[in-house]
């Protein structure tokens, strides 16, 4: 996509800015849809009807919420550390936003086709940690501090199993480039990595359980990295009010909010890219395939995982901090390492 824009406008600063803005153009409508989905699906799962007043059946509710947040008074606590307090939401948002730079939407549409896409996503995720710590500390609120501390411990712990999953797929695919990983999986549905990938012939079917376990491990650790239920302990509202964003209001709160929803898409997209063939059609290369269909498949599959996250949120209770650590270090990490070894073996015999 970058090349396309450069061809259109010319290789100058305007083109670069246009490329930077493209993900934002995606995030805003996506966030509105995701918020509406959260409200409505949550309501329906609880036998309610959800918001019904704004627009037809309440479809304009997220717009109303965004407008509300925009015009709300932006309160900064007197004893807060003002520069850091104001900076934190932006840092958190950078982390979520930067990841969009390498997320492909289709064969032809990718903001930046760098060779290290997977690694890049992994790295910029750490920006969120800094932002959360900054916000939690600068709020000068004990609940915020507790939330920030929990959040950091959680995100750093769960980066390890997620990293092992990345490593496994990178080993079997032989690349860190997202487009190549997806291209590897194109073709019939059993070429997807959740079904063992394209390599290996018949013997790969022995390794399918490892891929499925990796898939589940990444699903769980992605929930933890985006602070979603059952890992929403950094903002667990029944314990520490709202965690690190207790003191935030108005636009700055909206930034945290947007970052959370953007992160939801990022991790869903990565699940799809790593295991479910990204933008490739499930019916093989012949049917419903191509750049435009690619967008449909990519966004559709990712939205399914956004839905799964919402679904889990309205189903499960919350874990406790020590149980979270137990799960991360004693369950997910050993499992992912074992699976990594098995998959490395598969990659070796190919």
């Amino acid at each position: 996509m970058g090349n396309f824009v450069f061809d259109l406008i010319g290789k100058n600063i305007v083109a670069a800015l246009v490329i930077c803005i493209i993900p934002l153009v995606f995030i805003l409508p996506y966030a509105l849809i995701a918020i509406l989905g959260e409200l409505k699906i949550g309501a329906w799962m609880q036998d309610r009807v959800g918001p019904m007043r704004t627009g037809w059946k309440g479809v304009l509710q997220p717009v109303a919420e965004v407008v509300k947040l925009l015009q709300k008074e932006d309160i900064t606590p007197t004893i807060a550390n003002k520069p850091l307090f104001n900076l934190a939401p932006f840092i958190v948002f950078i982390g979520a936003f930067a990841a969009f730079a390498v997320l492909p939407f289709s064969e032809k549409f990718i903001p930046s086709g760098i060779n290290l896409g997977l690694f890049f996503v992994f790295a910029v995720g750490s920006f969120a940690v800094i932002g959360i710590v900054m916000g939690g500390w600068a709020s000068n609120n004990k609940y915020s501090l507790l939330g920030a501390m929990r959040s950091v411990a959680q995100i750093i712990s769960y980066e390890l199993p997620a990293g092992m999953v990345f490593l496994s797929i990178a080993t079997i695919a032989g690349t860190l480039d997202m487009q190549t990983i997806i291209l590897n999986q194109s073709g019939p549905i059993w070429n997807w990595y959740i079904f063992g990938g394209p390599q290996g012939g018949a013997i790969k079917f022995l390794f399918i359980p490892f891929f499925v376990i990796l898939f589940i491990v990444y699903l769980i650790s992605s929930l933890a990295e985006t602070n979603r239920t059952p890992f929403d302990i950094p903002e667990g509202e029944s314990e520490i009010v709202a965690g690190y964003h207790t003191e935030y209001s108005g636009m700055k709160f909206a930034m945290f909010f947007m970052a959370e929803y953007a992160n939801m898409y990022v991790v869903s997209a990565i699940i799809v890219i790593l295991f479910l063939g990204g933008w490739s059609s499930p019916f093989g290369t012949s049917f419903m395939d191509g750049p435009i269909w690619g967008i449909f498949w990519m966004v559709g599959k990712a939205f399914f995982f956004v839905f799964v996250q919402i679904w889990l949120r309205w189903t499960l209770p919350r874990l406790r901090v020590d149980q979270l650590m137990y799960l991360g270090w004693k369950v997910l990490l050993p499992l992912s390492i074992a699976c990594f070894m098995a998959i490395a073996f598969l990659a070796m015999i190919n």
Binding site: M45, R150, S238, P317, R318, Q323
Partner: protein, 382 residues
């Protein structure tokens, strides 16, 4: 902030404890309770409950209220189990005045008290789940509670503060389709309970969160005069309905549910909650039996005394509330107002045990333990 040095074997660690106010505007203190807690990391080392934000001088007020006027005030003690609250007071006054209420009234009272027990336990379990972060069971249970409240509304005219048990009888007769409605409610309650057992109580995360959390040993529970599910969760088989059968409870066949070692440890949050779930089932059984035995005809207002003036004397009358033993100590001087009305509030007594059982657990556990005790601040502060 005070500073303490904790001795570990690798030397001295300078550890600072954090004092944290949980409440009165915290989302999950079930009202306006303020807990002053001391944290070391996330471990709770000390808890001091501060109460009184909802103090309404209930006992003093009652001294200038005529007996019928006291009942609306009693409704507001434990406002999610008002029917049960009215009962011990009404029973006490009736005993003093030697009024034998009609059979039909007794049965209706039992049915309504048990329905209200179900409603109360539904709220208790629902909010407990919400403390743990599960929001959906909360609404399933509230949906069912709505049916109970509708029945109450069609009977007494109000949804929350009924003023329904009057001295000598009941304020209104039950609606004509009362029996069908009650049986229908029981059916729904059982179905939802089964669902909640699978969705919330059986969930591994929830089990992990609640077992071995806030263990209340039986002797501590007895020493702190706990009652209700808090006491029974610790394995003590004490239920006023069985131990000192009042009204007509000796006619029904039901079990006293106690905590067990099956999943958790006796006396932990899980057991307190599972006792509530089981008690709902027992209440359903009592209601079924009561509906089968209940006489169809009879005036619920025939034994109303012209003037409620108990003779000089004093009485302590208690009943098994959903939360435990609620008692009223009534001193009458022969006038139309109580000379003194002392209440033994369940939640207040049960709350006293909180600092005992939540030391050494985490903040998240503290909230769960508080939820498992199931307090209502209207009753704690009075």
């Amino acid at each position: 902030m005070e500073r303490k040095f904790i001795e570990y074997d690798f030397g001295r660690v300078d550890s600072e404890r954090m004092r944290l106010n949980v409440g009165p505007q915290h989302p999950s203190t079930h009202g306006v309770l303020r807990l002053e807690i001391e944290l070391e990391g996330e471990i709770v080392t000390d808890v001091i409950p501060h109460i009184g934000y909802l103090h309404r001088c209930f006992e003093k007020y009652c001294e200038q209220m005529q007996y019928p006027q006291v009942i609306p005030y009693i409704d507001r003690l434990d406002y999610i189990a008002s029917m049960n609250n009215e009962w011990p007071f009404v029973m006490g006054v009736e005993k003093m005045m030697n009024i034998q209420v009609p059979e039909r009234v007794e049965y209706i009272r039992v049915i309504f008290a048990e329905l209200n027990r179900i409603a109360n336990h539904q709220i208790a379990v629902a909010t407990f789940g919400m403390d743990a972060g599960a929001f959906t069971p909360f609404l399933y249970l509230f949906r069912d509670r709505e049916m109970i409240l509708n029945l109450f509304e069609h009977t007494s005219g109000a949804r929350l503060l009924y003023n329904y048990f009057w001295v000598g009888g009941l304020a209104h007769d039950v609606p004509p389709n009362f029996k069908d409605t009650a049986l229908n409610i029981i059916k729904t309650v059982r179905a939802t309970n089964e669902e909640v057992m699978r969705l919330l109580m059986g969930n591994k995360i929830f089990v992990e969160r609640t077992v071995k959390v806030g263990i209340l040993p039986a002797d501590v529970a007895i020493n702190f005069a706990c009652s209700g599910p808090v006491l029974r969760g610790s394995g003590v088989e004490w239920d006023l309905r069985k131990a000192q059968p009042y009204s007509i409870y000796d006619r029904f066949d039901f079990n006293v549910c106690v905590g067990s070692n099956e999943i958790g440890v006796i006396g932990d949050s899980w057991n307190r909650n599972i006792v509530r779930m089981n008690e709902m089932e027992q209440s359903c059984r009592i209601i079924e039996q009561a509906i089968a035995q209940m006489p169809n005809e009879g005036d619920v207002r025939e034994k109303f005394p012209k003037k409620v003036r108990p003779p000089k004397g004093e009485i302590y009358c208690s009943a098994e509330n959903p939360k435990g033993e609620l008692g009223f100590y009534l001193v009458a001087d022969g006038g139309n107002k109580p000379f003194r009305l002392k209440s033994r509030p369940t939640s207040f007594v049960n709350l006293a045990v909180l600092p005992e059982i939540c030391k050494g657990y985490m903040v998240a556990d503290l909230i769960l333990i508080l939820g498992s005790i199931d307090i209502v601040l209207g009753e704690v502060d009075r």
